[in-house]
Symmetry: C2
Subunit: 338 residues, 2 copies
């Protein structure tokens, strides 16, 4: 380990001078500066960030804790966060809480213990306690999921409205018995449910079969749940799912049962994904502005780092309804006798 001491020794100066050269501040004569720089090169010296962070009590890394790294939504957002922070000179460390509150806690602690300059994350649940414990100490931006605390910056999409529009679209295209697959572990899912419900109410319909996941659902959960839905005596005419993993699972089940989309059953989901674009017919979805979400979150964080006293903001973005064949207007048949 070559340290600042070695550099100082070789250059024949004190460590203070080396440090000054390192930080690029004025107050070092050109001659010494050159000597020091030469020594740095000669020894291939790299400053120890750990020591620097300890002493300066601030770092240039930012933490990003996502709740499911396998969900394309989060990877897309992550890319945006990274791009933006990279441009601002920060290094981003991701963590995957894996929808596991215990892991989330661990990573939150780890970030705190590593003294990151800031933190962006999507809480697994709205564990208020977590907030009081840590976020207050570190500049934080919450992503994707609302938390009750108003004292923290957030970037969200209007989930209720998005789900409302998605459901209304189905209704307007003639679907009546509309089932829903719903992840209820996050606020996101619950808000989307509200939108779904509101659309139905507005048309005098009542929610059809619904399956609620209190654990964060994966593709397989969506599949088996849909199998169950499809076996129901009055099969729904359409299914809404509140995230892309559930949507993929639903389609898998529909395929397995040999049903046609949308003739036998329509499908509408959330998030633009490769599969939703590639299957035939394409799947109608609410596309979230992932890049913008990530970028906004990163920008909010940068601002907060600069001014910790700044009042918290809540940025709400809109999802975009992308209409594809999976929800095409219902052709024949009696309009929902159930």
């Amino acid at each position: 380990m070559v340290s600042i001491k070695d550099v100082a020794e070789l250059a024949g100066v004190s460590t203070a001078t080396v440090s000054r050269v390192l930080s690029g501040k004025a107050g070092v004569s050109a001659a010494l500066r050159a000597q020091v720089e030469e020594a740095i090169k000669a020894l291939d010296y790299r400053p120890n960030l750990v020591a620097r962070t300890l002493r300066a009590q601030q770092s240039v890394t930012v933490g990003l804790i996502v709740s499911d790294i396998c969900n394309p939504f989060f990877t897309d957002v992550s890319r945006a966060v990274e791009d933006t922070l990279y441009a601002a000179g920060y290094t981003v460390f991701f963590c995957n809480a894996d929808e596991n509150p215990e892991k989330e806690r661990l990573y939150l602690e780890a970030m705190h213990a590593q003294k990151v300059a800031g933190l962006i994350y999507s809480p697994t649940r709205q564990q208020t306690e977590n907030f009081e414990a840590l976020e207050i100490l570190i500049p934080t931006v919450i992503l994707d999921r609302a938390v009750p605390s108003a004292a923290v910056d957030m970037v969200l999409i209007d989930n209720e409205d998005a789900a409302y529009r998605l459901t209304r679209h189905l209704i307007e295209n003639g679907y009546r018995r509309i089932g829903v697959l719903l992840g209820a572990a996050s606020t996101t899912g619950r808000e989307r449910y509200k939108g779904y419900e509101r659309a139905l109410q507005e048309y005098g319909l009542s929610p059809a079969q619904q399956l609620v996941f209190y654990q964060p659902p994966r593709v397989e959960d969506g599949r088996s749940a849909t199998m169950q839905l499809l076996e129901s005596p009055v099969r729904p005419e359409a299914i809404v799912t509140t995230n892309s993993l559930l949507g993929a699972g639903a389609l898998l089940a529909i395929r397995e049962r040999g049903l046609r989309v949308p003739e036998d059953i329509a499908l509408a989901s959330f998030d633009e994904t490769l599969w939703a674009r590639l299957v035939e017919p394409g799947v109608t979805i609410i596309a979230q502005p992932t890049y913008e979400i990530g970028k906004t979150a990163a920008e909010l964080l940068l601002q907060r780092i600069q001014d910790p006293e700044r009042p918290a903001r809540k940025v709400i973005l809109q999802g975009q309804l992308v209409i594809r064949g999976s929800s095409a207007p219902r052709a024949a048949g009696p309009p929902g006798k159930g």
Copy 2:
């Protein structure tokens, strides 16, 4: 910031005693231990990892640098890495090099400067220089992509063999004019090309149209390249792509041209993804054992951390050919007159 000093003061002991309680080592009387623990709780003390790392000259975080966080292959592998290392008590920090050598370098430096305990990564290119500079200092495992240096642990799949089997499968099913979309920025792509070539040679065929990407390709690249391929006077009967993003792009283009798979053109690709399962017909692929790859890499790293002198290992896993409709036996028509 409540530090070990505050705890010591409140408990009426020295910092050494607090530290001993913290590390759980023996040599502290039950009475004092209780006092200290109480003080820790009362102050809600959390050890400063930065200070600990600096002093102990080792940390419990491991870095994982992937070359494209949007590629499902890497997120799947990441999950496995994380599971394994989490179980071993490590915290994993991901970084996304984004197929950008400059970013890769930055993150490599960042990991080094953060004094991570170990590093798992898939090099963007085989920049040997990077190796000599850093990996020697930190226990490192290379993922997915081969590097010339033999002094480092690696986990790879047998890319040539996998591509060979994939291509042979197409040939055996009656396809003759087989085009290829190839990412050549990594060793992976080049090895896969070799397998493709070998299969053709074995059957006395010569490679049909091929499009090579020297930059890391994304979906859109696959799409536009395939458009180009499809416009060729002698359209290929089948297309092989060397990663899932290119594959998705190819399918997108095929759809756009209104062609049928496999009647008009067959498709075979790499990596199990949602879209490859969900489209109809499903896409024939080589499924990489992502979870096993990640797990193996993590285990190799743990072993290396424990014994840095251990000779380097190279673990080569096999891909699995998953046959789906996109490569169904060629029905009618003269068998490849081109």
